[in-house]
């Protein structure tokens, strides 16, 4: 019997990769800059990232044992789920669309409305929301305490005194999420002088970066005003003219300010070709619809960001008014932001699947 137990124990430790130990080294191109954000009380370690990845893909974190973070944040879709809204444990739909996860190491404002100021605060919310993963933290702690190899792993990462608790669970998940760095798209390669874009992609890039100035015959879409920089993310929040009065007030529902109505995060455009449908409510099925919106259908309201006011490629125009070939060029450029390395990186994949396969 003792022998048998020892044997079972050995198999458990065999099924997963060995646990690496030590400080985690982030690797990213110099042009990403070092304005990273890691809370002092949660330094990133190799063992913490290992545990965080296990938890990110752990269905025991949900009330019906069927949903993990990875259910709505699938690697193949740049950590989205391809849906306008996701289905929670109680069968109801989430109120906003699942956000892509990439380059969170530089992010300080999480959610579509930016209400959470660290990944550590963010993760606990979908875990406990009754319409998402729907499980109170104490239940999660209890379930993990009974599930191999978590008790041993938490001790290894956070020490025996801390062990498994609500704080260590989210700390580990946050550590893993910070490692999700997308930095090898064709656009990155182009910026490093290693990729030659097509003529159409270059036209798209120019339109992406330029503000329209019809008086000077400069055509532009001014996307970079909010999605600029090498990360195509600037942590800005705007009302982008989706509705005159929207169903979802965004930041406005938190502040009650007239200027915050319908104001949402201008998200990263990394891997944007993979993350349809678009906007906080997934109202646009594809990038053509997105470009049509910005080009021709900006709706004016008190909260509409000044960026959109009077921005037009036509003299005295009220809409951006891009030509059909210009929209196509911008989409061609946006496709350069797809990072195949990122969506296939084995370090970001579900470790439980790998463990199951290797165990067979």
């Amino acid at each position: 019997m003792v022998l048998l137990l020892a044997f079972v124990g050995t198999i458990t430790s065999w099924t997963y990769d060995p646990v690496p130990i030590g400080p985690y080294q982030f690797n990213y191109p110099t042009n990403f800059g070092n304005r990273t954000f890691i809370p002092d009380d949660n330094p990133t370690t190799k063992e913490g990232v290992y545990l965080g990845r296990m938890l990110f893909y752990e269905t025991a974190l949900s009330a019906n044992n069927k949903i993990s973070c990875g259910t709505c944040h699938q690697q193949a879709l740049a950590f989205t789920d391809g849906k306008a809204f996701s289905t929670g444990v109680d069968g109801s739909l989430t109120s906003r669309s699942s956000m892509s996860l990439a380059n969170m190491l530089w992010s300080r404002k999480l959610f579509w409305d930016g209400r959470s100021n660290a990944l550590e605060g963010q993760a606990a919310i979908p875990m406990q929301n009754p319409h998402e993963m729907g499980q109170m933290m104490q239940t999660t702690v209890r379930k993990l305490s009974r599930k191999m190899p978590y008790p041993e792993l938490f001790d290894k990462v956070f020490g025996k005194e801390e062990g498994i608790n609500g704080v260590t669970i989210i700390k580990a998940i946050a550590q893993f999420e910070r490692t999700l760095i997308s930095a090898n798209s064709k656009y990155d390669q182009y910026l490093q002088g290693k990729h030659k874009p097509t003529k159409q992609e270059l036209q798209g890039l120019a339109l992406f970066n330029n503000a329209p100035q019809p008086a000077k015959s400069i055509r532009g879409a001014n996307c970079s005003r909010c999605h600029g920089g090498v990360k195509t993310y600037m942590e800005l929040f705007h009302n982008n003219g989706l509705d005159t009065v929207g169903k979802d007030a965004g930041i406005g529902s938190l502040t009650a300010l007239a200027t915050d109505q319908g104001r949402f995060k201008a998200p990263t455009l990394r891997n944007i070709a993979l993350t349809a449908p678009y906007m906080h409510d997934g109202r646009f099925k594809n990038l053509d619809e997105v470009l049509d919106h910005y080009s021709d259908h900006i709706k004016t309201s008190a909260a509409l960001s000044d960026i959109f006011r009077g921005a037009s490629n036509r003299k005295d125009g009220t809409q951006l008014s891009l030509k059909a070939d210009e929209k196509k060029a911008i989409i061609a450029f946006l496709s350069m932001l797809t990072d195949d390395t990122f969506i296939h990186d084995p370090r970001f994949s579900d470790p439980h699947i790998a463990a199951t396969i290797s165990n067979k």
Binding site: T255, A256, A258, T259, D260, D306, R309
Partner: protein, 158 residues
């Protein structure tokens, strides 16, 4: 019912007015929350500059140095030594941030005026620009004329 509705609307407006303020924090003796009504107590300064429409406009507001000095930032005679490594970050409601070295704001260092404006050509700023906007006199690019200011933080460069 109508009366109740009016009360609710008035409450809503009151909350809105309350929320439109600037948080002044960081390396200051007296962190504070600046409201639109507080601006009247300070001397008003006028600065002219072009806006995106290419036309000159007259902006009225309070020198940023006056507001920061009131909050206890080390300006004037205290702006020397290690205090010269101080800067401010100004944040807007959309998350946009810009930075000024403290010395850029001090009249002992420069005649260029940087104000926290509340009016354009005598009128309150447009909703999408106000109620507070930084206006930098004579600066060629408008990028640091940050709109919808919500926070100013003083910090040491480390």
């Amino acid at each position: 019912m109508k009366q109740l509705l009016t009360t609710i609307i008035i409450c809503f407006i009151a909350i809105t007015a309350l929320a439109q303020s600037i948080k002044i924090s960081g390396e200051v003796a007296a962190p504070t929350e600046l409201k639109l009504a507080d601006m009247a107590q300070y001397p008003q300064t006028e600065v002219s500059r072009k806006d995106r429409d290419g036309k000159d406009h007259k902006y009225t507001g309070v020198l940023l140095s006056t507001i920061l000095q009131k909050a206890g930032a080390t300006l004037g005679k205290d702006l020397k030594g290690e205090n010269l490594t101080k800067y401010i970050t100004v944040e807007a409601s959309d998350g946009y941030q810009v930075l000024f070295a403290l010395a850029e704001l001090d009249k002992d260092f420069t005649d260029r005026q940087i104000i926290l404006a509340t009016k354009i050509d005598g009128q309150p700023l447009a909703l999408a620009d106000g109620p507070f906007r930084i206006i930098v006199e004579g600066e060629k690019k408008p990028a640091r004329c940050i709109k919808q200011v919500t926070a100013i933080k003083v910090a040491f460069a480390k």
